[in-house]
């Protein structure tokens, strides 16, 4: 085994680009491991942990790019480094690429697009708030995709946004649709009468996609970031966005999705909403619905229910969920589990959370790396035992790696591992479509499932839910057909898939 490296001083690429290239290189024949990244403390620690650190790396800074390859022989390592360089050059400055003659500052960009009104920021957290502040001071709305922005910085930005009447969506906001424009990870959803405000990215994707598939549409889908309803932030953006939807003549129904707010914020939010003369559907994930009902708002019991209720209020007719309970039960009755345990391999954090909340009261002991109330923390997140539902997008799995919605790498490995486990009788997983997501996750998952089946000779029951629409770049129907051809039961919502799992497990 040999280790070869290439250092490119003062060369910057964003982490997602580098992680995706690294992931592709690792799959090449004869490559044992590959680290392609900026020389951040984390990447340097990883190299030491992987025993790939070289003395030449001393003194490198986060502004230096490093390609380090562990391979069977010199020839393979050199070829892999050349491939990384080729991939990098195709991403920077290629004709027609986003970086062709691109400006290097926000100010230069604003000169080119003087009436720009939205700034989408995904630079490392330590630099993100400065860019957001510049945008707000110039009168532009902000979507802050970056994480690792402190809550003090968030408060400062949202206070500024509040003063100027500008949106600050985030930090750590993955999804928004403003005036039909999907920003970052969002689905192609038709225009309609429902306006949404959400502190959860995949929650917002699931509800907007379901609204679309039920035949209705949305006005706006505004992400506010997971901490907006905390005591410190006080729901600043939730209140501002909801009031704006209340004043928007096209919006007939408002949907609010969040973890339960801090108690003091709950009172404040509901007081602010009292004067709104439009139906508001509230889904505070895991909260007692009575606290919402007693204040006169419509409460939803899960993400699918939030979509169904919003469509009903917007159109006056009660739509049925796409899969009825009786259909789900009949699908489950055809299945015989080869073993007792269920495993859930999720890329969407809120979908993983929702699955736990529905299943735990039905099946009892349930473990997760991100356990909700009543569930147990997995002692080893890399090895399942009993019923487990895993959020593979959690920080523990994504440090130094791309998110499973864009890079199937670890989820594919884990799929093969779970299929081979003699305890496993049923596997659930999500396929999240839309802009930003992997172009063909269904094929990636099917390939790993087929490999798992061939290697182990085991065939646990497989179920998938697709979060997306027919208009998404990946196309809902096409992804569904790929999964079904591999004998995977496909459900339109996470709730339907989880009900199917419950029916299979109850019958066992």
């Amino acid at each position: 085994m040999v280790i070869k490296h290439l250092i490119k001083k003062q060369t910057y690429f964003d982490s997602v680009t580098l992680m995706l290239i690294g992931s592709k290189i690792k799959k090449l024949d004869g490559i044992d491991n590959a680290v392609v990244g900026m020389c951040t403390d984390y990447n340097i620690d990883s190299l030491k942990r992987l025993e790939m650190y070289q003395s030449e790396f001393d003194g490198l800074t986060p502004n230096d790019l490093l390609i380090c390859i562990k391979a069977d022989n010199d020839e393979k390592a050199v070829a892999a480094i050349a491939e990384v360089e080729k991939q990098l050059s195709s991403r920077r400055g290629a004709p027609g690429s986003a970086t062709e003659l691109a400006p290097s500052t926000q100010e230069e960009a604003a000169n080119r697009l003087p009436d720009s009104n939205m700034v989408l920021i995904s630079v490392p957290g330590e630099y993100a708030s400065r860019e957001a502040e510049k945008a707000l001071n110039a009168g532009r709305h902000v979507m802050l995709f970056s994480d690792n922005v402190s809550i003090d910085q968030e408060l400062k930005l949202k206070t500024l946004g509040e003063q100027k009447g500008l949106l600050v969506m985030g930090p750590d906001c993955g999804t928004a649709i403003i005036n039909n424009v999907p920003l970052a990870f969002a689905n192609a959803v038709r225009r309609g009468k429902i306006g949404l405000v959400a502190a959860s990215g995949t929650g917002l994707q699931e509800v907007t996609s379901t609204i679309h598939r039920l035949g209705a549409g949305i006005t706006q889908a505004i992400g506010v970031g997971g901490r907006d309803l905390s005591e410190k932030i006080g729901g600043k953006m939730t209140i501002m966005a909801t009031k704006a939807l209340a004043n928007d003549p096209e919006t007939k129904v408002i949907v609010l999705i969040s973890k339960p707010p801090a108690d003091s914020v709950l009172e404040k939010v509901f007081d602010e909403f009292k004067s709104i003369n439009k139906a508001i559907v509230v889904y505070f994930i895991g909260a007692d619905p009575k606290i919402i009902e007693k204040r006169g708002f419509v409460t939803a019991t899960n993400l699918e229910d939030a979509a169904v209720k919003a469509v009903e209020l917007a159109g006056g007719e009660h739509p049925e969920p796409e899969f009825s309970d009786s259909l789900i039960k009949s699908l489950a009755s055809e299945k015989r589990l080869p073993a007792k345990a269920m495993r859930g391999l999720y890329s969407g954090g809120t979908l993983c959370d929702e699955a736990q909340r529905i299943l735990q009261p039905i099946i009892g002991e349930l473990s997760s790396n991100t356990p909700v109330k009543g569930c147990v923390k997995m002692p080893d997140i890399y090895k399942s035992s009993g019923h487990c539902i895993i959020d593979l997008g959690d920080d523990d799995f994504t440090r130094g790696k791309a998110h499973p919605m864009i890079d199937p790498g670890y989820r594919s490995e884990r799929m093969i591992q779970e299929i081979a486990d003699p305890q496993t009788g049923l596997i659930l997983f999500d396929v999240v479509l839309g802009y930003g997501s992997h172009p063909d996750m269904a094929t990636e998952m099917v390939n790993s499932i087929r490999t798992g089946r061939q290697k182990s000779g085991r065939t646990p029951i497989m179920a998938a839910c697709i979060c997306g629409t027919q208009q998404d770049p990946q196309n809902y129907e096409r992804q569904k057909a790929i999964l079904e051809e591999a004998e995977i039961a496909v459900f339109p919502t996470n709730v339907a898939m989880v009900k199917f799992a419950a029916a299979c497990l109850e019958r066992k």
Binding site: N63, T105, Q106, A109, D115, M118, Y127, G165, L166, L167
Partner: protein
Amino acid sequence: MSDLNNIFKQTIKVINIGIPSFAQDLTQQGIMNVHVDWRPPAGGNRKIQALLEKVNQWQEKVRAARGKK
């Protein structure tokens, strides 16, 4: 300000700073956008960044004092 500066009635035009694929997605949909080929300021040098930050803050104070903010 309850109409968010009328944003719901405007055509969205985006400055994208960071991940290039977000800008590519917008371009594919025909949404006007400009991508910033962003790199850490001052070549990632923390000391110079801190100095630049102080200069920026000072400039902002001057702008505010002149009422040009």
